[in-house]
């Protein structure tokens, strides 16, 4: 049989026309793109599963948290009073301090700046820290301030700021109602020391004044009260042991009740070097009444570290050339 060309062409023409019409109908329609979404689908479903698992965990934690942890009102708040002043390493020091404090439940950070007004650096840092805080400021009078060349031991530092913190506790604090308003512990924490988390657990049960060893202070590996029969009998220190309380600021905590019961107890900014702590504690407690912590004062849970002043030699040289660090960048 011979293939008629005419029929073939007609057939071809009809089939092509139908195909074209079909394609035109499909144009603009939603396409089924699921095959391209497959790897994305897989990721989404995996993450959804992950999210669900974490949500389950969270629910479990919420359920177990309350019975395991003491309800908020009965865990005494630790008020940590930290004097701070503006210098290069301030932001770094406060950052790592806040990272430690975040691990302590019921902690209230009272940060007192040595400044006539609140600085934006500290305002921002406190807001981002995630801690409960109170931001205060008071400027040290000029004659009591250390000048640039002075060695750090020349004048006691932070007395005015700590007093301001105490004043806030006594006068301005809006305490929760009831008997719990007097529950609490006050600790004076400098911003360059190193604190372990256990320290705060130890101090929480302070009735009057509790004490413990401090590492790397007083020219020794550690300084500590010597405990015999559960009571402090003397102090192991390498520097002026004849002081009424040869302790470091980081080595004691006072109960809020004691602070409120002694409204005149404060730090004497004119006290000779090393007597700052004594000026506060003298009117408040006697050595016999001190409560030893940290395993009868045998463990070091806080270290009197100091941070080096960063060298800015090149900075000064570059500033002169106009190539210094951008001052808009907060360091």
């Amino acid at each position: 049989m011979r293939l008629k060309l005419k029929t073939v062409f007609v057939l071809y023409f009809m089939v092509s026309l139908m195909g074209l019409v079909y394609a035109l109908m499909q144009l603009g329609q939603r396409c089924d793109c699921t095959e391209h979404d497959l790897p994305k689908d897989r990721t989404i479903s995996r993450l959804r599963g992950e999210l669900h698992r974490l949500e389950e965990q969270m629910k479990k934690v919420e359920a177990t948290k309350s019975p395991h942890q003491a309800p908020k009102s009965t865990l005494p708040t630790i008020f940590v009073i930290t004097p701070t002043y503006s210098r290069f390493v301030q932001k770094a020091e406060l950052t790592r301090l806040s990272q430690t404090f975040l691990h302590v439940p019921q902690l209230h950070w009272v940060l007192v700046e040595d400044s006539p007004h609140k600085t934006p650096l500290v305002v921002g840092l406190l807001a981002d820290s995630g801690l409960a805080y109170t931001h205060l400021h008071t400027a040290t009078p000029k004659e009591r301030k250390l000048q640039d060349g002075d060695p750090s031991w020349l004048k006691p530092r932070g007395a005015e700021q700590r007093n301001e913190g105490l004043r806030w506790l006594r006068e301005d604090r809006r305490a929760p109602q009831g008997a719990d308003s007097q529950q609490g512990v006050v600790y004076f924490a400098d911003d360059d020391n190193t604190y372990s988390i256990q320290l705060f657990q130890e101090m929480r049960s302070t009735q009057r004044v509790s004490v413990w060893p401090v590492g790397l202070v007083g020219g020794m590996r550690y300084e500590r009260p010597v405990v015999e029969g559960g009571k402090v009998v003397r102090f192991h220190t390498g520097w002026r042991p004849s002081r009424p309380f040869p302790l470091d600021m980081a080595g004691f905590a006072v109960s809020l009740k004691t602070v409120l019961a002694n409204p005149d107890a404060c730090f004497d900014g004119n006290a000779p070097m090393g007597f700052l702590e004594s000026s506060f504690l003298q009117g408040v407690v006697t050595m016999e009444e001190l409560e030893p912590r940290a395993d009868n004062c045998s463990k070091v849970l806080v270290w009197h570290t100091r941070t080096e002043k960063p060298k800015m030699k090149r900075e000064d040289a570059l500033q002169a050339q106009g190539l210094g660090s951008d001052n808009a960048v907060e360091v």
Binding site: L47, G49, R221, R306, V329, V331
Partner: protein, 337 residues
């Protein structure tokens, strides 16, 4: 009878159709395939309440445990969140391997304590601590165990000949041991980011989240380094690193501090021969030696808001004067400080 003309006709007719069919089968290969297997598509979308996918919970810890990581391996799922414990391990986040070389001195315990306090806030962090000592010390062992972090505790004493060399960058051989451990333990292509953290710096928590998305090497500014307020990579208009803002030897190919960069683990494993140079290292060139073998300048990923924020500070802790120790010498050596 089929003539030549018919043959040609048939060929001309068949040619475009065969082209079309060939094109379809090549280009939309999967289209045809998936359309034909609807079951497969549905199976890829398990019910959202199904937590059973076993691979998700798997981490490379099984191997790590065997490599002598001590008791530091934390189970993948924590059912109770307590203050001062790390966040639950999440398979959705890239793990961070922080390599810290440490050595015994008075402030060691304090430094490691506050570093641990920082790391306890970071999810999926594995701390590789390498002591410059003949044996692991009880102090560090106890400290690491008490933190509850994921850790690996190694030790390697710097050979005397290296210690005496002036050009030896401190901690170099310990960091190399950390790299070696990672390469031996982590397998072929594990997810993860490696960061070298010295024990006296200050790290903000945001830094760790910034480095998690590193695909090759990411960089950011570091505060208080090279005699300046901060050192930073220079970023051009396209968002790429084009130079360095630094006060010390700005001609270095990578004028950056150890704390200013993080490397993707896969890159380190792929280039398994790259380690820190230990001899004849020019001052400040330790980072350059490592990075130039790993990436080129254009591969660097700027973090910290296009390198405009300082999230890590190169602080140094003063050496405590222990003068009264010598005079009286009655500090009980058994008390750990």
């Amino acid at each position: 009878m089929v003539t030549n003309r018919d043959f040609v006709t048939l060929l001309l007719i068949a040619l475009p159709w065969s082209l079309l069919i060939w094109h379809l089968s090549n280009g939309n290969h999967t289209d045809l395939y998936w359309k034909g297997t609807p079951d497969r598509r549905n199976r890829s979308r398990p019910a959202s309440g199904d937590p059973s996918s076993p691979r998700e919970g798997c981490t490379p810890w099984g191997r790590a445990a065997a490599a002598g990581a001590g008791g530091g391996i934390v189970e993948a799922v924590r059912t109770e969140y307590v203050y001062s414990r790390p966040p639950p391990w999440s398979a959705a986040l890239a793990p961070l391997y922080v390599i810290t070389a440490t050595f015994q001195r008075a402030v060691q315990k304090a430094e490691l304590t506050r570093m641990a306090n920082t790391f306890l806030h970071v999810a999926n962090l594995h701390w590789v601590v390498i002591e410059d000592a003949r044996n692991t010390s009880a102090l560090v062992r106890r400290l690491l165990k008490a933190t509850g972090l994921n850790y690996t505790h190694l030790h390697l004493e710097t050979p005397r000949v290296l210690r005496m060399t002036g050009s030896y960058p401190r901690g170099g051989i310990q960091k190399n041991l950390g790299l070696r451990w990672l390469r031996l333990t982590m397998g072929e292509a594990p997810p993860g980011v490696v960061y070298f953290a010295d024990d006296d710096n200050v790290y903000s928590l945001q830094l760790f989240e910034e480095m998690r998305s590193t695909t090759m090497v990411s960089v950011w500014p570091v505060g208080f380094i090279a005699g300046r307020k901060y050192e930073s990579p220079k970023i051009n208009a396209q968002g790429k690193v084009c130079g360095w803002v630094t006060g010390f030897a700005p001609n270095r190919p990578f004028a950056i501090d150890m704390a200013g960069f993080a490397v993707n683990l896969k890159l380190l494993i792929r280039k398994s021969e790259v380690v820190f140079k230990l001899r004849d290292v020019k001052s400040g060139y330790q980072e350059t030696n490592l990075l130039s073998a790993l990436v080129s300048l254009s591969d660097l990923e700027p973090k910290a808001d296009n390198c405009t924020k300082v999230l890590v500070w190169h602080t140094r802790t003063e050496r405590p004067t222990l003068v009264n120790e010598g005079q009286r010498g009655f500090s009980n050596p058994e008390v750990e400080v």
